[in-house]
């Protein structure tokens, strides 16, 4: 080990290293197996698998299941539903939580810590703790003309609001830690020059938080896209469902063969996989931004 450090070379090949690689290759293949199995099933026609069984050599691999799942279930529509929920939810969460973070981290008000505690603790609660009254509340709030359902219940707006309220806890915590690290001189100089509080926030602090904001945006997009629970409870019309809960609905109603379900599930996962592969660095740093401070 120490020689390797001194000469800055890769560790020489040792039996232990080879063993380690064998272990890692085996386990990572095992880890990928369920996903690979889903891909394999999705690529085969139902008629073939029902004849020959699933563990068999494929005669032909086609994208038909993907095509059918996409068309039969009108997936584009559900992707659209998710988009109109996730985009405003992510942007609003970042805006609101950065404002709270700015307030608690750049000023010395007495209630700062208490306020941050309220946000952080709120985010750690299991969602089911609050769902019963929330569901009732959503049914009681009338919004004629604002949402298609005339209520907060069964509307994209309702989902956006609960996502923002819930996720801003985590983001406020992370961003306040981040903002605290920025030197106070930055805003002090601006303050002396007569810049308003809003300008300090919008033109000085926020631009410096870009790395943290990018990490959180990645994380939030994946979380909100993947949300299942809020959508299952707070949306009742199949038409209004985002993609994850719609899939659950469709697999019971329309999809009769497992290959089609596999294709549908994989299609649902594609956007998150793309986000992950493109923004891997941001995603991982976002997860650990919050955790390292703990």
């Amino acid at each position: 080990m120490s020689t390797a450090v001194v000469t800055k070379q890769r560790t020489p090949v040792r039996p232990a290293r080879i063993l380690l690689h064998v272990f890692l290759v085996t386990t990572s293949l095992a880890w990928l197996a369920p996903l690979v199995w889903a891909i394999f099933a999705a690529l085969r026609p139902y008629s073939e698998t029902s004849d020959k069984g699933y563990v068999s050599w494929p005669d032909k691999l086609t994208f038909d299941n993907f095509k059918n799942a996409f068309e039969q279930s009108d997936m584009l529509h559900y992707f659209g539903n998710t988009l109109i929920i996730a985009v405003p939810a992510v942007l609003l969460t970042l805006l609101l939580s950065s404002m709270v973070a700015f307030y608690v981290s750049r000023f010395d008000f007495r209630l700062n810590i208490a306020l941050l505690l309220v946000f952080t603790a709120g985010n750690l609660l299991p969602q089911q703790v609050i769902i019963t009254p929330l569901y009732r509340m959503y049914l009681l709030i009338d919004l004629p003309g604002v949402t298609a359902s005339g209520k907060l219940y069964d509307s994209a707006l309702g989902l956006v609001l609960i996502h923002v309220a819930f996720q801003s806890g985590f983001c406020a915590f992370v961003l306040s830690n981040y903002m605290r690290m920025l030197p106070h001189e930055l805003t002090e100089a601006a303050l002396v020059d007569g810049a308003s509080v809003w300008r300090q926030y919008w033109q000085i602090v926020l631009p410096l938080c870009k790395p943290a904001m990018a990490a959180l945006a990645t994380l939030l997009s994946i979380w909100i896209y993947n949300d299942f629970f809020w959508a299952i409870v707070l949306i009742s019309t199949g038409e209004n469902m985002p993609i994850t809960s719609a899939l659950n609905n469709l697999s019971g109603q329309y999809f009769t063969d497992p290959n089609l379900v596999a294709a549908g599930a994989l299609l649902t996962a594609i956007p998150t996989l793309i986000v992950y592969f493109v923004l891997q660095r941001q995603f991982v740093s976002g997860l650990t931004l919050g955790a390292n401070k703990g």
């Binding site: 890769r10 990572s28 089911q128 819930f166 809003w198 994850t244 809960s245 379900v261 992950y276 390292n292």
Partner: protein, 326 residues
Amino acid sequence: MSADITTTSPETAPQPSPGPAPVDKRVPRGHKRLLTRRDRVTLAFMAGVPTVLHVALVWVTAIASIFLAFTSWDGIGFDSIKWVGLDNFKQLFSDNPQFWPAVEHNIIWFVVLILIPTPMGLFLAVQLDKKIRFSRVYQTAYFLPVVVSLAVTGFVWQLVYNPDTGLINSLIGANKPGHYIDWIGDPHLNLWAVLVAASWRHTGYMMILYLAGLKGVDPSLREASSLDGANEWQTFKNVIFPTLRPTNTVVLVVTIIEALRAFDLVFVFNKGAQGTELLSILITNNIIGESSRIGYGSAIAVVLLVISLAVIIPYLIATFRKERRA
């Protein structure tokens, strides 16, 4: 919100970063004197809007849950809310055949997650931290399940567990009539089947948290330890692991919360039917099921709330106390 704006308490202000020596006596920064009236209004607005939204949707509802747990309500009009005292809890603890199994399953969920995927994630993190070749590829493989939604994970694992067409039964030849192993339907098996899927995901999550923790370990500690002639295991046990304490705390809290939140996988699997009851599922069934027993559902939520707060409060106190000291 406006009352606290005029008060200053420099003692509680956290230092941006621990300087070389604690010489500076915290010069009052004089923000308040420079804040105009407009600035104060802006600040009240900036903190106020998010707080109102968060408190109204999260904390008011949590408190409403507590209140409703002592009532019976059909949810139709407010005048049908009746105070019933501890009745909901009495019924829950003594009559409901699903409640104690659900509590037990939530506990099992936590125990399994902390005993199997968590050490596995730590082990993988330690191995991948050695700067080996293809480290990124391995990391991605273990981490992929965390990226895919739990609902989709549920569908994928159904394909693996399906009695007729699933991977496992096909491989072990248990897919012939009479030899079925019904992984999803058998109440003695299904919880464990779901837990395999949950662990599959949890391992990657824990691995990333530990990898981040390991990155923070001072390399000179490792060098000193190897100079002292410690072997790999001794170095890990005596040097590395103790420095991972903050990460371990986060891992513990995250794992408890995940065990309490567990929902999506089971819901997709079998809607929490026999064998996989969970507190979260019982609450949800009270809402989207036929029966609308709000007080009763809230009572279950209160049980979940109390357990959660027992974890969240000490964790936050410790975290924020440390931050104040830092």
